[in-house]
Amino acid sequence: MTYAALTDADREAMLETIGVSGIEELFRDIPAGVRFDRPLGLGDPLTEQEIVERLEELAARNVHAGEEVSFVGAGVYDHYVPAVVDYILQRGELLTAYTPYQPEMSQGVLQAIFEYQTVICELTGMDVSNASGYDGTTVAADACYIAKHATGRSKIVLAETVSPQVRQVVRTYAPGFGMDVVDVPHRDGVTDPEEFRAAAEGAACAIFQQPNFFGCLEPAPELAAAANDVEALAVAHVDPISLGVLEAPGNYGCAIAIGEGQSAGNPLSYGGPHYGFIAAREEFTRRMPGRIVGETTDVEGRRGYVLTLQTREQHIRREKATSNITTNQTLLALGGLIYLCWLGPEGLREVGEACMALAAHAKERLELPLLFPEQATFKEFGVHVGRQAHEAIRQARTHGVNPGYPLGRDYPGMDDAILVAVTERRTAEDIDRLAEALAA
């Protein structure tokens, strides 16, 4: 009863006011046949101290990124999250608030979301962003739903170089949308614009990823042009951390930009909660899923912020809504906002450059055959390790180094390939250790 607020005396007085004889009577509308009449099969209630002990015990059975030299990425990255982010997100006025339905009570979170939307638009070169999606996979499904309604078409084109999990989620959602998915195979680690155009013929949208899952730089402007040629919406899945050095999708013709926000301001947290972002050109504003904050004024003409364009949403449009999303990932998105403000334009460029420089160094230092030696990469790249990747990983981990992600898990024929991610948290010495661990 750790969090109970009533005393027995309170309960008695309250039951009297209600006019019932006991707690049981409050449940009289529940048919006898569906009442639960044994104690729940849960443990003894624990005190705070015991809860912490139990959770520390479980946490200690994990090997976290601070306990080994980790080059694991593949969609979730160990970038540094500054202390200000944690601090602000822990402030109760923000942490313990619900969705800002009453704007006068929630100007803080509303303005912050408006700032977040602006930052996402700036990063991606788009006109409108929502307040966040669940993660980098579900925003891809969202983009397809927009495209379906915007184009009246039902084909989804997915480059094979898009993150496998994104592709799986799109495939899971597609049948409900009445859509089909077509894959475009990679050619030497990147997508061929001609093949992409051919596939996109008659498609609602065509999705590629930049940098792609292999870490390679796609010919993104050409891919967008290919989609545009055949009037499929060009959708770019981008890593926010790359957007200080790589061009914004809005600047090379994409209709929609989506991505996993984790790399910008969220901890690894075993895969969640993180935030997905989705931004689009102005014409898609009223097809966007989820919450959007807009600027307005109060009765005295003061600037203020509210949830807006709500006629898109499920609580008004119900079965005709642009999406069913309600709870999103606002807190994590605001982590992203604070992080990106902390970086500023210079910092964003610097973190991108630092990753690139370290990754380039790692490529050389490892002295292993590259998976796609011809391609430019950002912070991640594939190498052949000359044996089963999971075996190499297992062995390297005994040396305190986790070398990366085994690509064979998703791509047949790549059983000897590891995807190595190098963030600004890794050093030249770490890379030496990686080289030694993989050579061992």
């Binding site: 509308d29 849960l42 608030a97 899971t172």
Partner: protein
């Protein structure tokens, strides 16, 4: 107050990035290189902290005060949950970590699955969905997969949803490719059984129901309802948003539901963070387990692992195994209550009934029954008699330092005020709120203008939502604002004195 962009000055900065000076950055091919940097704000860290600190003080959370937002279960969010979620072994664990380096995380998830199975009275749980509405969609996908597997895929086209349902239910039905059948509510607030019978037939895939409903009422005919669907070969989906009412008291599985989603951010105390994150695990009956998303978290003796080998699975609905940080908090919350969880629901129901008893004379009560964890009043009489709407009541409550209830929902109640106190509020708080609500009812008669112009002491007055939708300004328009960089003096930036 200023936007963060309006605090920016060229050349300022907070964060810096280490870079080994000796390493060269490879050139990015010109056509892929960013030409104009994103206009992120340029501010020192002190300004960053002040800006966001100030923003938070313009926000109201459970930590600020009473937050009776119906259907949202705004209970105390224990601080210890934040402590444990921040343990490096959880916070810094990579989701692609080898299973043997993630045994603690896997065990936690497995145990949470078992806890949720026990509370819902069902057999198997997937923690993957990111929120309630994704849980709904996932549940409907399970229905599709189940019927397809039985060769009834083409036939089962419709899903029945109550007219009191949350908007996510019909929206999920559409997104899952089903057709909606809406069913009415009867005079006692139960599903109208006659109407229901006319909506269920061989095309029915299932029912989506919240129970207790969004009226805060337990459906007295739930057994008949369940029988009706099962006899038609259809499935029952339980929208678990109101689970806080019935933990240890009545289990969805025992009511006859086949699929349940649980909103971890409601019943199990994950803070909602101004919009999210949440968690929407789904629990299902044994025969639906094969269709659950992959990977499943399974136990082999003392080892835990991720099982991808589920040929009938619908696939994945989000990345990895779900919002793990949310699981840590919910798990910690359930440990705190343990087998006494029933007492939590009892107090939640007691608090709601107490408030109801104190308020039912001052406001209209559309369904005069004992309630469960929440109840819905109507301001229709205030409107008729004094022109005071539910919105006015909500705004006026702010002047009394309370967050407003949910209003205008459920849709079948005009001028609805949907009030959910949760179990973590004291009697004094409930009394203070009841007093305020009663005072407002009096004010409606005596000084209606005070209500219509409320709120009066928030950072902003009543905001114009129509204007916002019309103008659709959804990001800062740098172009409409002067370039502050060359601004000569800051005289203009002195905010007007607030006193005098």
């Amino acid at each position: 107050m200023k936007l963060v962009f309006e605090r920016s000055r060229p050349g300022r900065r907070a964060g810096r990035i280490p870079r080994p000076a000796e390493l060269a950055t490879p050139a990015v091919p010109d056509e892929l290189r960013r030409k104009r940097p994103a206009r992120l704000p340029e501010i020192p860290e002190i300004e960053l902290v002040r800006h966001f600190t100030k923003l938070t003080t313009r926000n109201f959370g459970i930590d600020t005060g009473f937050y009776p937002l119906g259907s949202c279960t705004m209970k105390y969010n224990p601080r210890v949950n934040e402590r444990v979620a921040a343990l490096p072994g959880f916070r810094d664990l990579h989701p692609h970590q080898d299973e043997d380096g993630a045994q603690g995380a896997l065990e936690l998830m497995h145990e949470l699955q078992e806890m949720l199975a026990e509370v819902t009275g069902l057999d198997a749980v997937s923690l993957q969905p990111a929120a309630g509405s994704q849980g709904e969609l996932t549940g409907l996908m399970l229905m599709r997969a189940y019927f397809a597997d039985r060769g009834e895929g083409g036939q089962r086209r419709t899903v029945v949803v109550a007219d009191t349902a949350h908007g996510t239910n019909p929206a999920s039905v559409t997104m899952a490719g089903y057709e909606l059948r809406k069913v009415a509510t009867d005079a006692r607030g139960n599903i109208d059984l006659d109407d229901l019978r006319s909506k269920v037939d061989g095309t029915t895939a299932g029912l989506m129901l919240t129970n207790p409903s969004t009226l805060g009422l337990f459906d007295e005919h739930i057994e008949e309802v369940s029988k009706l669907f099962h006899e038609a070969g259809a499935l029952l989906y339980y929208d678990g948003a109101n689970l806080n009412a019935v933990c240890g008291i009545s289990r969805p599985g025992d009511m006859g539901f086949d699929i349940v989603h649980i909103n971890l951010h409601k019943t199990f105390s994950q803070p909602h963070g101004g919009g999210g994150p949440g968690g929407g695990p789904i629990a299902v009956r044994e025969h639906l387990e094969p269709y659950l998303p992959v990977p499943a978290v399974v136990r082999d003796g003392n080892r835990f692992r991720l099982d991808y080998d589920r040929p009938k699975s619908i696939g994945k609905v989000r990345a990895f195994t779900g919002p793990f940080g949310v699981f840590v908090r919910s798990y910690a919350f359930i440990l705190a209550w343990g087998r006494e969880l029933r007492a939590m629901s009892e107090d939640a129901v007691l608090n709601a009934n107490y408030l109801l008893a104190r308020l039912k004379d001052a406001y209209d009560l559309p369904f005069d029954r004992l309630c469960m964890h929440e109840f819905v009043l109507s301001a229709r009489n205030l409107k008729k008699e004094h022109g005071i709407t539910a919105l006015d009541v909500a705004k006026r409550l702010m002047d009394y330092d309370f967050h407003a209830p949910t209003i205008y929902f459920p849709l079948i109640v005009p001028e609805a005020l949907m009030i959910e106190p949760t179990e973590t509020e004291t009697k004094e708080t409930l009394d203070a709120f009841a007093d305020a609500m009663q005072a407002i009812a009096r004010e409606a008669a005596e000084e209606p203008e005070t209500l219509k112009t409320a709120p009066h002491n928030r950072p902003v007055g009543r905001l114009d939502e129509v204007k916002a939708a019309k103008r659709a300004i959804v990001r800062y328009r740098f172009e409409d604002h002067p370039d502050l960089s060359g601004e000569p003096s800051a005289a203009a930036e002195v905010e007007a004195p607030k006193g005098v």
